[in-house]
Each structure stands twice: as C-alpha cells, then as structure tokens.
C-alpha cells in the first residue's frame, strides 16, 4: 500500500486538528462538564462537609484523656494492656504492635514532622496534640483499597465497611498519618465494658475513626467533641454560619502533612 508524503502530512494534520479541538468542542456543547469531571470537587453549595478544629490553646492532658476515653468506650476499642482475663495478657514486646487506636496524642515534632522550628515555645513542644483520622478530601486509603471496604462518603467522611475488609492492610501503608490500626487478634477479651450501641471488630480487619458517623446519623456530636467541652469544634465546613467555619475564619490553623496533597480536614489552632 502506498501513501505519498503529501497524503501523509495531510492526514496527520487533520488528525492533530481533530485531537486539539476535542476539548474545545466539548466546551462549546457542554460548557464546564469536562472540567467538572476531571477536577477534584471543592465543597459544593448545599452539600455537607464535616470537619474538625482542635483548639490546642485550650488542650491539656486531662481533656485529651477524657476525649480518648469517650471515643474508645463508645466504639468498643480494645485496650490490650487491660485484658478481662489474666490468661489473655499480651507480652509487652508486642503491645505496641497490637495497639488499636482511633484517637491518641503525640507531641508536636511527631504530629507535624519536619515542621518543628529548631527553637520553639516549650509549652507548645509539650502539648498533647490530639490525632485522629483526617477524613481527607483526597484519601489515599480509599484509592488503594482493593475491595472498596474503605470509601469516601458524600459528606466527606472516610468510612469503613468491616464486612468487606479482607485485612490486606494496603490502607495502612497508604495512610500517611498512621491513623489505622489492624486487629492482630480478637479484640473481645480486651474490651472492659462492651458498649451495646456499636459492634466490636473481629480479628483481621483494619479500623479507624469514623467521625462518629453513627452518632451524626442520630443528630449527635462526635463522642470526643462532646467530652472535650469546647476544645474540639466540629461542624459543616460548607455552612457559612457553622462554628467550624467561624473558628477557621477567626484563627490561623495548621493541618498535618498538607504537602502530601491529601487535603486533611482536621485543623489545629496552635
């Protein structure tokens, strides 16, 4: 089959023209559609976007402890240091690995690695920063989950479906904040007081904070927010009149590891 140079140039020119005009043509017929499908959506009008502000100016050890206890109690989070039966005691060398945590504290240099100035106020260096799932806008855990057990809800909550979790722990590798814990063993013997409103977990699934999705469905605030007495502020970021929005407008806040591009939605007032 023969094609002379002139023919080749004519065809490739036409093809290039067609290719270049593709997006333009779309814009003409359906303006904004391509952009909307490709770009990550910022909070649209009328859509709820849950977010949390941690006011570290009010935070102290006692408040942090109260929040953690409230959270872990209502979600049946096991404490491997306190087995119900002495024969289930976990050897101390694996306690750290077995630990399941939804909400916990770290110092500034661990919570915000790389962001600590060489000299900083000692008070802030010693503060217990309350850490939890950031419910990112662009959650890497959701992208890597092979079974869609972890998914992002329309209101921004990154939730887990324990029925689908196969325990592959890709999400734990994907999450840059370390908010996910794996159940290395059956948690039941390590739950001091089972809370009837929420299931426990089984061996072999990953778990994390859910922004208390089950409490939000009943129009209740998350357990930690209730226990914090104003130190934690929770609400709808898309609502102009909400308290989080107001707080974020009045105070300068920082977030964890923003440079990774996951767009975390837990804000810290330092």
């Amino acid at each position: 089959m023969g094609m002379d140079r002139r023919e080749f140039i004519r065809i490739s020119g036409l093809a290039a023209l067609l290719g270049l005009s593709g997006k333009g043509a779309f814009e003409l017929v359906r303006p904004g559609q391509v952009e909307a499908a490709v770009a990550a959506k910022p909070g649209a009008e009328g859509v709820v976007r849950w977010a949390m502000v941690v006011n570290m100016q009010k935070m102290d050890e006692a408040t942090a402890k109260k929040c953690i206890e409230a959270c872990h109690r209502v979600h049946n989070v096991p404490d491997f240091t306190k087995p119900k039966d002495a024969k289930d005691a976990v050897p101390p060398e694996v306690l750290n690995r077995y630990e399941v945590k939804w909400l916990w504290t770290e110092h500034f240099h661990n919570a915000f690695p790389g962001e600590e100035p060489p000299v900083m106020p000692e008070k802030i260096a010693r503060l217990p920063f309350l850490l939890l799932c950031n419910h990112c806008d662009n959650p890497p855990c959701v992208r890597v989950c092979p079974t869609k057990a972890t998914f992002r809800r329309e209101d921004g909550i990154v939730n887990m479906d324990m029925h689908r979790c196969i325990g592959c722990r890709f999400c734990m590798a994907g999450c840059p904040f370390g908010v996910r814990s794996f159940n290395w063993r059956d948690p039941r013997p390590y739950i001091t007081q089972e809370y009837p409103g929420y299931p426990t977990r089984e061996i072999g699934v990953v778990e994390k904070c859910t922004f208390c999705a089950e409490r939000l469905a009943q129009n209740l605030m998350p357990a930690c927010v209730e226990a914090s007495r104003g130190t934690l502020i929770f609400g709808d970021l898309n609502d102009e009149k909400s308290k989080v929005r107001d707080t974020l407008k009045r105070y300068f806040t920082i977030r964890r590891k923003v440079h990774l591009g996951t767009n975390p939605q837990v804000y810290y007032i330092v």
Binding site: R153, E154, N159, M162, H163, P196, P199, T200, R201
Partner: protein, 164 residues
C-alpha cells in the same frame, strides 16, 4: 461374526485372543472398601437417631412485657422465617454504606404497616430476641449454618444492657 471381523490390514479369521484378567483386583477392591467405609463413617453415630426439631423460645423480658396484640415481629413470621437473612444484608448495606455515592441511604426500616424501626441487628432484633441461644441458634444449628454476625455484633440489645 468371526468372518466379519476386520482390522486395518484386512480380514482375519478370528478375533485376536486377549487374555481377560483383572489386574491388581485385590488392591482395587480393598481400596474401594476402605473409601466407602470412610464415606459412611460420619453417618454411623447418628444412625437411627431422630434429631429433635428446633425449639424456638419467645420467652424474653421485652416480649413478655408487650401487650398481646403488639406481640409481633416487624414483618409477618412466615416472611421473616424465609427472608430474614436477605433483610439483614440489605440493612447492613443501607446502614454501613449510607452516604456513599449511589448508595441507598438509611438507618430506618418501614414495614408495610407503616411502622418505623431502626435498622440494627443488636438494637432492634436482639432487643426483643435477647435469647440468642434459644432463638437464633436453635434453627441455625438444626440446619447447620454458622452465620458470622456474632464475631462483631453484640448479642444483647440496648434495653437489656441498660437494665444490667
């Protein structure tokens, strides 16, 4: 018959004589016998026994407290008997995956009579049927199914837990 016998080279007067013999008959039949024995073995202990039909009990504090006319499940008993597993799976998906794009939303279940219930195994089903071993387990054991609900879901409903 013998004259008609043909092979690829032509006609033979007689069929080739092949010795008929059962090779390794001893091993084969012993092996078969052992296999059959192993196959039957699990059935032997239950031979001639009658397994009692499941005895479900509805005698729980919450059900006892109800007035006679209110004493019914969220759906008709026959329907529940046949479909409770599918209903629980639907509840599960609606509750856990609510808020996901394209997912059905809801923690509420409305029965045909229009009565609203919270879609929850522990807090709705187990609230009345707080006797798992005398209700759920009876039939599940009888038909030898082992649903894995109880690995995570607690067996005591809210009312009972609060009373303690």
């Amino acid at each position: 018959m013998a004259e008609n016998y043909k092979n690829e080279f032509g006609v033979f007067a007689e069929r080739p004589q092949v010795e008929k013999k059962y090779y390794d008959a001893k091993n084969i039949f012993t092996g078969l016998a052992v296999f059959l024995l192993l196959l039957i073995l699990p059935l032997v202990p239950n031979l001639g026994k009658t397994i009692p039909p499941p005895q479900r009990s509805l005698d729980t504090p919450v059900i006892q407290k109800m007035a006679e006319k209110d004493r019914k499940c969220i759906m008709p008993t026959d329907w529940m008997r046949a479909n409770h597993m599918q209903m629980l799976v639907d509840w599960r998906d609606n509750v856990v995956r609510s808020g996901e794009k394209g997912a059905a939303n809801g923690r509420n279940f409305v029965n045909p009579e229009g009565k609203k219930y919270l879609a929850s195994l522990t807090n709705t089903c187990m609230d009345c049927h707080s006797n798992k071993d005398k209700f759920c387990d009876q039939c599940h054991n009888y038909v030898a199914v082992a649903p894995n609900c109880w690995g995570c879901h607690l067996t005591e409903g809210k009312t009972l837990a609060e009373a303690k």
